[in-house]
């Protein structure tokens, strides 16, 4: 009887008290972009619901929104000096790197939670890029490659962290704008919203949206991938046609 009581107590302490619930919604679940697309934003709205027993927290809430684009197999290479020339030598593979990675927070991420929790739960861009399953570890040799991936992707606007990206409209309702640059690849984007209070995770939701390219360029791209022989022949025919046209137009005899 006593052991059963202890076990019950243990179980209760293991199950987190579900005091707050998080409800989120995206402004769009499908983004259509055409060839003159210059970038857009998707809005995430969220509300925090407290059940009757929970008292209001003194510190207030923090929200971290993490957006991951379709995965890519990336190779990062480093040019090194070999004799007089610079050539690609070392390389590091990133088998499932997200093509797009956006982290939006309501406050600088270092203030929201501790280093250890960020590393463990992969909260924040740095924690994600430095996580152990992101790329094979090679006793520190992988570090410059992780940094380079981050730097190069950030230059393209594809990896970003915005510490003022989430705005609280009221203490319980927030909104965040996910910026999608023109270079964002089509595919499925996962949106994870994590609710923090006083450095601990209270709740998490996950949703997603799809980026779909439409229009002429995308159709051409699809043909180039799926019908490559036809595409090559078509390009050849176009080239010959133009050559013939020029010959006819500029005929000298």
């Amino acid at each position: 009887m006593r052991t059963l009581g202890l076990l019950l107590l243990l179980l209760i302490s293991l199950v987190p008290a579900k005091a707050e619930t998080l409800i989120t919604s995206l402004s769009n679940h499908r983004v259509l972009i055409n060839s003159n697309y210059t970038g857009t934003q998707i809005a995430v709205f969220g509300a925090i619901e407290r059940d009757a027993q929970t008292v209001a927290r003194a510190t207030g809430f923090d929200v971290v929104v993490t957006v991951r684009g379709p995965r890519q197999f990336l190779t990062v290479r480093e040019k090194e000096r070999l004799g007089p020339v610079w050539i690609n030598q070392e390389q590091q593979k990133f088998p499932t790197a997200p093509s797009y990675l956006g982290v939006l927070t309501s406050r600088p991420i270092a203030e929201i939670t501790s280093d250890q929790l960020r590393q463990r739960q992969k909260v924040g861009l740095e924690a994600i890029v430095n996580s152990t399953d992101f790329t094979p570890q090679r006793n520190g040799a992988d570090r410059p490659f992780r940094e380079a991936l981050y730097r190069l992707k950030a230059q393209e606007g594809l990896y970003l962290e915005d510490e003022r990206g989430v705005t609280f409209l009221t203490p319980d309702i927030f909104r965040a704008g996910i910026p999608l640059p023109a270079t964002a690849p089509p595919g499925n984007y996962e949106v994870d919203v994590t609710l923090f209070a006083d450095t601990v995770i209270l709740a998490r939701t996950s949703t997603n949206f799809e980026l779909v390219k439409t229009g002429f360029e995308e159709q051409v791209g699809a043909v180039a991938r799926d019908w490559s022989l036809f595409y090559g022949l078509a390009t050849a025919v176009i080239a010959i046609f133009f050559g013939w046209l020029a010959n006819v137009i500029f005929r000298r005899d």
Binding site: P70, R71, Q72, F73, L74, T75, V76, R77, E78, K79, E80, R81, P84, V85, W86, I87, N88, Q91, T96, S99, P144, F145, A148, L149, R151, L152, K153, A182, T183, P185, G187, N188, E217, V220, A224, R225, S228, L229, Y231, G232, L233, A234, T235, A236, I238, A239, I240, F242, G243, W244, L245, A246, N247, I249, F250, R251, R252, D253
Partner: protein, 300 residues
Amino acid sequence: MPVSVLLILGMGAAVGFISGLFGIGGGFLMTPLLIFLGIPPAVAVATQSAQIVASSTTSVLSALRRDALDHKLGAILVAGGFVGSALGVWFFAAARRAGQLDLVIVISYVTLFTVVGSLMLKESIREFWHRRKGGTVRLRRKAGEHAPYLGWPLRMRFYRSKLYVSVIPILGLSLFIGFAGALLGIGGGFIVVPALLYVFRVPTNVVVGTSQFQIVCTTLVALVLHAVTNQAVDMVLAILLIVGGVFGAQFGARMGRHLRAELFRFLLALLLLAVGLRFGLELVLQPKEPFSITTQEVRT
């Protein structure tokens, strides 16, 4: 690829003008320019081949009308060129997988351009010198004198070119041109023409037509192979390059008729050396960003 449409059209026209001026394909200029613009070398090389097809089609058609084409020699060149092209595209894909494609392209350009450029420069300066001294340009051709490899087995008679030579060196030349063309996005006219003229002594009136015929055929194969194996052909970019190039070339050709031959060869040599040097610098100077990312596959 966010590159301005007008810029590409303008570049196509400018390169077309130069190619018309010098009577060359222009691929060797356009491909480096595209690479300097930031277009991935793979796409630049593969797409440029479409432009080469277009410009060579124009010259082959007018050569056909003037009957300035040796069909038999052309066919032999094409046969070797096909094999070379296929090898080139295969090598291109292999180098791309190994992550060394950029290096291969840059080194090949540096070597090719410095060698061909300095040979031409030397030749044109010597020619210029002779003319200054008042003498006529000495033709180094002597009757009955042939390089020994022209007499190798498998000799064949080419009536139109007044040739009776071994097929082996011709196949070797076209194999090399096909390979270099597929790898570097050049037609190779600036190598084939001098080779046919000076090494095989093909009469001048059939040289250009025949070499252009070979270029059209091999580049066509390279284009389709690039599209299938590397999927690096960009049709929109190709059309822009073609439109710019085709018209630029016509105006260049008109200009070219007023240019003196040795001055023209001198300018072309300088141009080749400059492009070669520019590539060489890229290789030797410390890169601002030593790291680069390549996408191997997209997982959705």
